[in-house]
């Protein structure tokens, strides 16, 4: 019963208020009477005496207001009064309210949706322990022009030994592995890690434990940690899984732990550490004994508490300098190490996209705001008399302003509530576009941040929209409403309206230009020539047979598989490659040098290396420019040969045929990466392996039969639907070796689509924003023109009656609108020339000042402006002049 006293005090408060009001009335009334009596006694007539008394008192109502103003809780009481008053007013004009609330809901909702994504990706901390202390550490080879490259094993161990500011430095390399044993063989992503990698992230296992020091290095027994997804999928969520064995690449590993559901690694896209890792396994060799120039590890570090990034960078600079003096492998290529916040680094691609979209949606919200301000302005003019009356009855200017603001805040509040619904729907839509590059977008939703933001935005929008009529009001004499009855409104109002329309057109223009640039980028991307032909091709990943003893038996297996697939009906070419273009397998690149180059010239230039089966160029549609493709005879029994791409050929032998020239490239023999002299036998077109929009490094192809890796991506060119071959291919693999796992059975074009995803997402959202802006601007112009045409109905009627030609009158109105629109376009053009520069990172094949986008945006907006003017103008002209004239009376 703790409630009752509170309730009672509320009642008391209301009763007291009522009594106070009664007493105040009586007190002032008695003062008037006393004054009047004195004046009567002095010889005035009672009527005159009364009037004089009221005047001497200075207006009883004003005095009462002054007394009420000093009462405690007065502001609250007034706010409540204003709110009730505003609610009553809004209910009375329901059409106005509906239009305003819907406009605001659209503006706030769109903002809410984009902010939800922004919050999930950019603002919310990463799902790790003390995520702000986690950092990415990249290697950089200045003299080879290599930035953001992985680090070598000894680099990591040296770093761990020398650092004082990092509590932990850990490394990861993501590869593929085959799960065999019970059930279907399955290819999964394997995260090879240092034992401290998962503990550095600081997320505990859901069952079992994380790795310990004893799990890594020589002599350790094979251990794995599996993902929640794999635990459910392959082991039916078996609660007694910890301690059981998992057969990974033919070897039994003990499962020591299961990660919790939702655990994922969040790395930058160019780190080749995808988030869907199913098996974690520690390196079981001594990383310090690995080659110093074989960079493959992605490093993360946990800073000690209170250490800033630039301190860490300074320490890394010192350590890199030490490594350069100690080891020649690091001296020649001029090794540096760069540190970056893990969160910031992981969103470096998403950040410009989201900020651009957020800027765009802010403009949409401003346009919505301007529309509502316009509506409120028109409403304030219609209520001029009411406002004058209130002023005459003792309401101060501030009080009236507060009342108008309360109304717009109430509107914004309703719009904000509805906007949360709109935002929710918007987030579903955005998620439907599935932009993989926006990593954590899946967790977008109504967080505390989003709610707080929406609340603040709502208040801001309400204040902005409400401020315009308030400012327009205070410029005028409040009492003017009594004096003139002009329906056309004050010049101040039409000035404000014109300014709002101008702003709307300008903002709409910027948005149209921005989305036009994105659309043109996307079209360019659709037509971008990546150097390969993805249509009509099936691809899949396949691992080496787990029981294969040496390279030769692996090569024999793949050769048999290739021959069998070639015989399938509809297949026109079959090849395979160690790294599929646009795939997410960690890149393979090495130094190369011309045969006989002096030692100082050797570790300088990097080339992407790919091991291929004969037929890959034909099946992937990579044109052979000169020389020949590999054959089955290019094996370890024959001389080492390579195929290079046109960019390498041009670089090394400009104007010469590269055929027959010799290079040192890297071949893999039984898992060891060996620099090997080989003869160039062919030149192919450069293919874009990493992005549709960037060329990347020069390329060297080595024959798989001379350089075996554990995994291959098969590339099968088909006459017809690629996926129709999925079943026969699986059957062939199973018939050759039931323990061989395959994965990622999908059309080659799926990789191309995925590479366009980020741009498609940006373009789609930008287009929706631009269309919304266009509609809102149209409604805004239409509203203003309607208003001014309505005010001039009589004038138009007179012109018509006097024989004015309709065409001229139409031009009068349209011309006025066009002038306003052009001013807006000019302002918009000036703004967009500044702002579109910020989009440069997102554009491809089109400059930020693309004239086509600018002109198209101007034409679209101008047409919208004309249309919005013609409609009300025609309606006004169709009115009978007699009725129009009476309109004024």
């Amino acid at each position: 019963m703790r409630r009752s006293p509170t309730l009672a005090s509320v009642w008391q408060h209301f009763f007291r208020r009522e009594r106070e009001e009664r007493e105040l009335d009586e007190e002032i009334a008695s003062a008037v009477e006393i004054l009047a009596e004195e004046k009567v006694a002095a010889g005035m007539t009672p009527e005159v005496a009364r009037r004089e008394a009221v005047i001497e008192l200075g207006g009883p109502e004003q005095v009462k207001e002054a007394v009420r103003d000093v009462r405690p809780g007065r502001m609250l009481e007034q706010a409540w009064q204003d709110l009730r008053y505003a609610a009553r007013g809004l209910t009375k004009s329901s059409t106005f309210t509906a239009v305003a609330v819907l406009t605001l809901a659209l503006g706030i909702g769109a903002n809410n949706a984009i902010f939800s994504v922004l919050d999930a990706v950019l603002i919310r901390p990463l799902p790790y322990a003390n995520p702000d202390r986690l950092a990415m550490i990249w290697s950089e080879f200045r003299s080879a022009g290599q930035k953001r490259v992985p680090s070598a094993g000894p680099q990591l161990t040296e770093l761990q030994r020398r650092t004082r500011l990092f509590q932990d430095v850990a490394g990861v390399w993501v590869g593929r592995g085959a799960l065999t044993g019970q059930g279907e063989p399955e290819q999964v992503r394997v995260g090879w890690v240092t034992a401290n990698f998962l503990p550095t992230l600081g997320v505990p296992a859901r069952a079992g434990r994380l790795f310990a020091r004893s799990d890594e290095g020589r002599g350790s027994s094979p251990a794995v940690i599996i993902s929640d997804g794999l635990w459910r999928r392959r082991f039916g969520a078996d609660p007694s899984i910890v301690g059981r064995l998992l057969r990974l690449d033919g070897q039994a590993h003990t499962i020591v732990g299961v990660m919790p559901s939702g655990f994922e690694v969040v790395f930058p896209a160019d780190a080749s550490v995808p988030s869907d890792i199913d098996v974690w396994s520690p390196f079981r060799d001594d990383l310090s004994q690995r080659p110093r120039d074989l960079g493959f590890l992605r490093l993360i570090g946990r800073l000690r508490p209170g250490v800033a990034l630039d301190q860490a960078q300074a320490e890394l600079d010192a350590i890199s300098a030490g490594l350069r003096t100690s080891f020649s492998e690091y001296a020649t290529p001029d090794l540096r190490m760069e540190v970056a916040s893990l969160h910031r680094d992981s969103v470096r691609e998403a950040r410009p996209i989201l900020l651009a979209l957020f800027g765009g949606v802010a403009m949409v919200t401003l346009i919505a705001c301007a529309n509502v301000a316009n509506l409120l302005l028109a409403r304030a003019t219609r209520r001029e008399r009411e406002i004058s009356l209130r002023a005459a009855l003792g309401a101060s200017r501030g009080r009236i302003a507060r009342q108008l603001l309360t109304e717009s805040l109430l509107l914004a509040g309703l719009g904000g509530l509805l906007g949360i619904g709109v935002g929710w729907a918007g987030v579903r839509l955005l998620l439907g576009l599935r932009p993989a590059s926006l990593g954590r977008i899946q967790s977008a939703g109504l967080s505390i941040n989003v709610l707080a933001f929406t609340f603040a935005l709502t208040a801001l929008v309400g204040a902005l929209a409400g401020l315009v009529p308030v400012l327009a009001m205070s410029r005028r004499n409040l009492l003017r409403g009594f004096q003139d009855r002009a329906r056309s409104g004050a010049p101040g109002r039409s000035r404000a309206q014109n300014a709002l329309v101008l702003a709307e057109v300008a903002l709409g223009f910027v948005l149209l230009v921005g989305s036009g640039l994105m659309v043109r980028t996307f079209v360019r991307l659709l037509h971008a020539d990546p150097g390969f032909e993805a249509a009509g091709v099936l691809t899949f990943q396949v691992g080496a047979p787990p029981r294969a003893e040496d390279d030769v038996s692996v090569q024999r297996f793949f050769r048999a598989l290739q021959v069998k697939i070639e015989r399938l009906p509809g297949v026109t070419a079959v090849g395979a490659v160690s790294h599929l273009p646009l795939g997410d397998y960690p890149n393979w690149y090495e130094y190369y040098w011309k045969d006989g180059a002096p030692a100082a010239e050797r570790n300088k230039i990097l080339a992407d290396h790919r091991a291929v089966l004969p037929g890959f160029f034909r099946s992937a549609g990579i044109a052979l420019l000169s020389g020949r493709d590999f054959t089955d005879d290019d094996d370890t029994g024959h001389p080492n040969v390579i195929v290079v791409d046109e960019t390498l050929a041009r670089r090394e032998w400009p104007g010469e045929s590269p055929l027959g020239k010799r290079l040192t490239a890297t071949f893999i023999h039984s898992g060891s990466f060996d620099p090997t002299v080989a003869e160039v036998i062919g030149v192919v077109r450069h293919a874009r392996y990493h992005a549709l929009t960037a060329d990347g490094r020069v390329q060297i192809y080595v024959p798989y039969h001379q350089s075996a890796r554990e995994n291959l991506a098969f590339v099968v060119r088909v006459d017809g639907e690629p996926l129709s071959l999925a079943r026969p291919v699986r059957e062939i693999v199973a018939s050759l070796d039931p323990d061989v796992a395959i994965s990622k059975m999908r059309p080659f074009s799926a990789y191309v689509d995925a590479a366009r995803q980020a741009t498609r997402f940006t373009t789609a959202v930008a287009a929706v924003l631009a269309v919304t802006a266009l509609l809102l601007a149209f409604v805004g112009i239409y509203g203003v023109v309607s208003c001014s045409v309505a005010a001039r109905t009589a004038e138009i009627g007179v012109r018509m009656a006097l024989g004015g030609r309709p065409r001229r009158i139409l031009w009068l109105i349209v011309g006025q609108t066009l002038r306003l629109t052009s001013a807006g376009l000019a302002a918009g053009a000036a703004v967009s020339l500044v702002l579109t520069g910020l989009l440069a990172k997102l554009l491809y094949g089109v400059g930020p000042r693309d004239p086509i986008s600018l002109v198209a945006a101007a034409l679209i907006l101008a047409s919208a402006g004309v249309l919005a003017a013609v409609l009300p103008a025609r309606r006004a002209m169709s009115v009978d002049p007699m009725i129009a004239l009476r309109h004024e009376a």
Partner: protein, 111 residues
């Protein structure tokens, strides 16, 4: 801002003191208070009802005045204000304060 308003602004600080002093002799209704002030100061201070009534309200909220309904000389029902005990203490302290300031200003002006 009109001349009259500026004058009452200037007097904002001293208005409370004037009202308390006026009520020290006997309880009075609102108009009576302004009459008394005008009479004692020989018309130097004219407290307008627009300032007087809010001030009375404020002083009552401070607990320095109490109010009750009574009859005026012409037998009209009117609200009478009287000093409370706290009001007398306040009057005493404000008087001391005023005298100190007046003396100090006097010293400044006489040098």
């Amino acid at each position: 801002m009109s001349e009259a308003e500026r004058k009452s602004d200037l007097l904002q600080g001293t208005l409370d003191l004037l009202i308390l002093k006026a009520l020290a002799a006997e309880p009075m209704h609102g108009l009576g208070v302004s009459r008394r002030i005008a009479q004692v100061t020989r018309g130097t201070f004219e407290v307008k009802p627009g300032s007087l009534f809010p001030a009375l309200q404020r002083l009552e909220q401070e607990g320095w005045l109490s109010s009750s309904w009574g009859r005026s000389e012409s037998n009209r029902r009117a609200k009478y204000y009287a000093l409370t005990r706290a009001g007398r203490r306040q009057l005493a302290s404000e008087t001391r304060q005023w005298n100190r300031i007046a003396a100090a200003i006097g010293l400044v002006l006489s040098t």
